[in-house]
């Protein structure tokens, strides 16, 4: 178990190293001059040369990368070219807003997804199943920017029940959470529905029914335990994705999270900030992968046996 864990951690570190290298190279391969991005379109050649020298952009690539890596290992992701602030501090300041939105959206999408998936599977091939299928597909297909704007107009402008964007009090969390959760809820409900229908046809479920267990107990005690497993992987990775920033939702709702920060960094070609946010996202995904693997080990004894030496 420990060897497995150690192996996964080393693998995660290699992924992070690779991500940092690829991001670094992409940032320098794209046909745009960071000095121009920093100094502005009107800068004269002398100013650009001075800025390139001061930032070390005239050094060989491997020197620049080495310096970056050294600083990153010490928790210093450099300073934003445009904002002139520490990238680490910027990410840390924006993370709570993203985290609270991600966790609440994930919770809502799981609740709705499991509810819809279970109802649809319990009444498989009945009108309610077909209705929920159409409804789920509708949720998955709905563009976030459209749904967000509609919710803002309805809930914020006309009903005046919710703030028009911003990050000011629990009420401001409601509309972005709904916007972000509905698409995933539709997706989760379809996955769970398929898994549950499959599980309900398995021998062990038939045996449970034969033993005289009620349909509800068969569903929740036996079928659900197995059908939920794939959702754990999906939800874990989705949560990592959400935690690394949700650009559209954050933009529509003026939500001060990491997604908007990353978007602005890309728009301004703020290379240290682009690299910082990408590395942070990669870190979250590596951690989420590790957490999902461990959760799987705990949830499914068969995997534990397969991993045993």
């Amino acid at each position: 178990m420990l060897i497995y864990l150690a192996r996964r951690i080393v693998f995660g570190a290699v992924v992070l190293l690779g991500t940092s290298l690829i991001t670094f190279l992409i940032a320098f391969v794209i046909p745009a001059d960071p000095a121009v991005a920093m100094a502005g379109a009107k800068a004269d050649p002398q100013t650009l040369a001075t800025i390139r020298h001061e930032l070390g952009l005239d050094q060989p690539l491997y020197v620049q990368y080495g310096r970056y890596l050294d600083r990153a290992l010490h928790g210093d992701l450099g300073r934003s070219y445009i904002r002139r602030q520490s990238v680490t501090a910027l990410i840390v300041s924006r993370f709570p807003a993203t985290a609270i939105l991600a966790v609440s959206a994930m919770a809502l999408s799981l609740i709705l997804g499991v509810l819809m998936g279970t109802v649809a599977a319990a009444w498989h091939d009945r009108p309610i199943d077909h209705t929920l299928l159409v409804f789920s597909l509708g949720l998955v297909s709905m563009p976030v920017f459209w749904l967000g704007t509609m919710l803002l107009i309805a809930g914020g402008l006309y009903l005046r029940d919710f703030p028009l964007g911003g990050f000011e009090g629990p009420r401001s969390l409601v509309l972005p959470t709904i916007t972000l959760a509905l698409g995933s809820a539709g997706y989760y409900s379809r996955i769970l529905h398929t898994n549950l229908v499959e599980a309900l046809g398995q021998d062990y479920v038939r045996t449970a029914r034969g033993k005289g267990l009620s349909p509800a107990r068969t569903m929740f005690k036996h079928a659900m335990a197995n059908a939920l497993l794939p959702l754990v992987t999906l939800a874990g990775l989705d949560l990592a994705g959400l935690l690394s920033g949700v650009v559209l939702t954050e933009t529509v709702f003026d939500w001060p999270g990491i997604g908007r920060l990353a978007f602005e960094a890309i728009f301004n070609l703020d290379i240290p900030l682009i690299m910082g946010t990408v590395l942070f996202a990669a870190f979250l995904i590596v951690v989420a992968n590790l957490a999902v693997d461990l959760l799987y080990l705990w949830l499914d004894p068969r995997i534990r046996l397969e991993q045993a030496p």
Partner: protein, 527 residues
Amino acid sequence: MRAALKILAALVFAAASACNGGGAPEFAPGTSVLRLAEVNDVPTLDPAAGYDTVSWLFEQMLFSTLVRYGDADVKLHPDAALSWTVSPDATVFTFHLRRDIRFTSGRAVTSADFRYAIERVLNPKTNSKGMEYFRSIQGAPEFIAGRAAHLSGIVTPDPWTIIFHLRAPDPIFVDKLAMPFAAAVPHEAVERWGEDFSRHPVGSGPFMLKEWIGGQRIVMVKNPHYFIRDLPKLDAVVDLLGVSAELEWLKFEAGEIDVSAIPTAEFVYVMKTPSLKRLTTHQVTVATQYLGMNSQMAPFTDLRVRQAFNYAIDKHKLIALLNGRGVVAHGVMPPTLPGFDPDLKGYPYDPDRARQLLAEAGMKRLNVKLWLLADQTELMVGQSIQQDLALVGVDLTLKPIALAPLLDAVRQPNNVPFMVFGWEADFPDPSNFLDVLFSRSQWGANNDTFYYNPRVEALLKEAAPVTDLKKRYALYDQAEKIIVDDAPWVFLYNPVAYVIHQPWVHDFVLNPMRPTRLEKVWVSPHH
């Protein structure tokens, strides 16, 4: 259970808010507050670093410069300086300062603070975008190279006098001192905070920073020690940051903000609704939008092709597409720029003449690629141009790309033949258009059409040191005429800026070249 969940949600949110700075700012009843919203976050509040409209909006509120522009014009007015004199050859500039100016820290502002600010901009370690404006000061090369502790060309004989000695005549040097780069900053605060001075700015402007939460809002409050009595009229300004244009409009409709830009989709509705139209204000900016034609690349090496393109574009149609938010450009200089030549006629829309010129040049069927910024308005402009050029036998392909690669691409020689671009003045002088955009020394920088004409070059050289404005403008107008004849650009339009404000907002005016100054703006009580 429901109550417990509510409490849990509130606690979680409070924890997150504590990390991020908390809820909406609260003011005592009767406080006069102006509420704004910005699409972009504020990059910086450090006057040595900022070089964008949003940073300058706030820097104007926080800091004082020796001189400044009027609220709605581009004429120079005293700010921290009481008066100034310029030597006849425009190499020595003497400013006498007010004695009643204090930083918000309480210390008096002296001439040494202005000197320190400019030395800081010229220090390579500051990475300031404003370096180029002060390189003409005597001793600048030695100071930049680290061979001198101070700029020998700035003399401060007493705390209330500052004298600038330049290496060469520069009649527009006073305009450069109106840029926020030259605002007084206290050395003790800069040294204390270092690169974080931007988060802890100390200035002597009409407002002080109360709160700045990245990505959320910035709150400015009145500086009670501001040196102009009874100003600012507002007690506070709250600016929400990172608000999309659509959300900004919704907030304006809901009365949550006081001033807003008008989204394209709403513009016609606003202008056709009298109650809304009367709340709008507009201003022709000191800017020109153009189609740049690289005169070193085929087919634009041929003058007839460049002129044909000028005749082929229907600028009135283009402006109609922009809901009238522009005026037709006949030349390089916008009508709001001193030195503008109203007699310049440019090129009328004449597709027949365009076809004739293309035929004379032997261009029966042309294929050209137009590089432009990947944004909705630019694409609309591009499509209109595509349609116009198709009528004269030119197949135009649009190449939309992001701003940073576009800026990089146009600076490479023989790379971008045809582009949509714009130029906005930094200071109101023809040199800021003609020298910067058409001189040979700007190849690989701002002369993106790689234009060169020795006659223009000679006129620009002759005009640069001339202090007699009439003579100066006449020389620049001559140069502009030659440039228009040479047609390295299709001169499109001068953008007109529009904003709308709530009925309770007063004296909100737009400046043609700078962000609006807010010290005279006021809001009706109990609105």
